[in-house]
Symmetry: C2
Subunit: 322 residues, 2 copies
């Protein structure tokens, strides 16, 4: 390993997964928001979390349970197996993302922690650390999902054919039009990912699978062709995931209807919810959709905030130390 | 309607559907083989099948049951509803495709019958006759599948988000690399589509759906990016359709293994089988794969033939009258 430095600072972007028909298979990095992790070499063996800011004390400092440190540990072990003499890593985490917001908060920390450690240890190919960052994300809730964390690490729009750690991990970067905008709307209530998983069907009919799979393929093809209308139609044809979860989100139908009226090409639950997402394009329409969604939730007595995002093309990256 | 002529002759290409992970959703038109239909104006009301060649007497002359005439009737009714004064159509069908070969024989006749009638009646936009040709294909076995017939009509590689006649039909033409070759291998035994459907699971686990859907999306993305290796990997990751059907095809594993050894990027059952298909590229490898497959079946005492196809980009088209 060459280029070992004493400390690096890394930003990893927010991300949004699922988009309805892309359930557990599709993730997109989002600009304008993310987590920051500083990694420092330490003579003390292993990975420590020395500080966390911006989490209201909710995240664990325990390095076995924190997504950033679990990812960092995997990268450190990989580097040591490759001959690195670095004994330990200290992490400082600054959360820029609210927890359980549907914006991949745990994933951004895992991606930042893993990438910072890799940068510190001179591992330059980010695809080498897919498994450690996936293991980091796994520490959040025990499930295996690469959609958020690979998007946060790699940037862009990412298809995740498999998130099983025992299988080859081969996330694919997908093309999308530059004018694509994602409107994210966050209501002021929370929804546990575990609750959101519980309502999903265990099995689906083969014919339902065929339509749902074709819709995901259509989404991918339409985005590659720059056809945002087709992409929106694909998202809206989800007949499995969002229909099952919609009852958990008060005013889901009123809000998605308001976004569609304001010009959204398609709508879906962001991640496991409760945030919602609209597909839009550059120009004034995206802000109008955001406004319409906030107003629709307000009409139901629920406060919400909204933001218009581009897809972040860079993923995790070094930023200057403060 | 303008441009009404007295007769036209149309060729519609063979097609292959499914490709494993694209079950019921993906079809590709194949060059070098297809059906020919001549449509002639008639004063006799309705559509008649006046002759069928090349089917060994197995196909129905009954216009209610023949796929070409059912498609033609739908187009004729559409034209008459639009003001056409043409009363009837006589069809002559020349089968270039063997029945139940996994090459979309019934679909090619439906596409040719529908397109010939449209050409005769001056309907120029082939997307206007999607429903009639789908209804034609339906006459073959009572099921609704646009994958073969839309590929045969439109040409190219086609994603079929829905084949339900009551829903909007929006087949999508997908990009694929010019150097793509499909090796089709036809063993000398037949397998009824109904048998091949019977072994499929009625329901699949949600996690299985996620992997299968991501594999279809990967196939679409890889072909768009010209990544034949990735496309082959996507086809090979089918965990639902081919694994269920493989036991119906003697020596399935020996033959696919032989094709992979000869350089196939991936293998799948062609349509509902028993023919098999390998993904390959231009150059000597494709012919080597074809040879290896025929030899592997021969070693099991089964005669087979094989051919290397490009994807036919044109779909149904007029050819000169003889």
């Amino acid at each position: 390993m060459s280029g070992v430095r004493s400390s690096v600072r890394v930003f990893a972007p927010a991300s949004v997964a699922n988009l309805g028909v892309g359930f557990d298979a599709l993730g997109a990095a989002l600009d304008q928001a993310g987590d920051v992790v500083v990694a420092r070499r330490s003579r003390r063996r292993g990975v420590r979390v020395v500080s966390i800011e911006g989490d209201d004390g909710r995240l664990p400092l325990d390095p076995e349970r924190n997504t950033a440190s679990v990812a960092a540990r995997g990268v450190l072990e990989m580097a040591r197996a490759g001959g690195s003499a670095v004994a330990g890593i200290d992490l400082e985490i600054v959360k820029g993302l609210p927890l359980e917001s549907g914006m991949g908060s745990s994933a951004a920390s895992a991606a930042a922690g893993g990438f910072a450690t890799a940068a510190l240890l001179g591992i330059r190919d980010r695809r080498k650390i897919l498994l450690p960052v996936l293991e980091g994300e796994n520490a959040a809730d025990g499930s295996w999902h690469g959609d958020n964390v690979f998007a946060s690490l790699l940037g862009g729009l990412v298809l995740v054919p498999s998130s099983r750690p025992e299988w080859p991990l081969r996330p694919i970067s997908l093309p999308f039009p530059d004018r694509l905008r994602l409107v994210l709307v966050h209501p002021d209530f929370s929804l546990k990912t575990s609750e959101s998983r519980k309502v999903l069907p265990r099995e689906i009919l083969l014919g339902t699978h065929v339509r749902q799979a074709a819709a995901l393929a259509l989404l991918v093809a339409a985005l590659a062709a720059g056809d945002l209308k087709g992409a929106g139609r694909a998202i809206d044809s989800d007949s499995v995931v969002d229909p099952a979860r919609a009852p958990l989100i008060p005013a889901y139908h009123a809000v998605t209807r308001a976004m569609r009226r304001a010009g959204a090409f398609g709508c879906a639950i962001a991640g496991a919810g409760p945030s919602l997402l609209a597909l839009s394009e550059e120009g004034p329409k995206a802000a109008a959709i955001a406004k319409a969604a906030v107003a629709a939730w307000k009409a139901e007595g629920i406060r919400a905030t909204a933001a218009v995002h581009r897809i972040d093309p860079l993923g995790a990256r070094e930023i200057p130390l403060p």
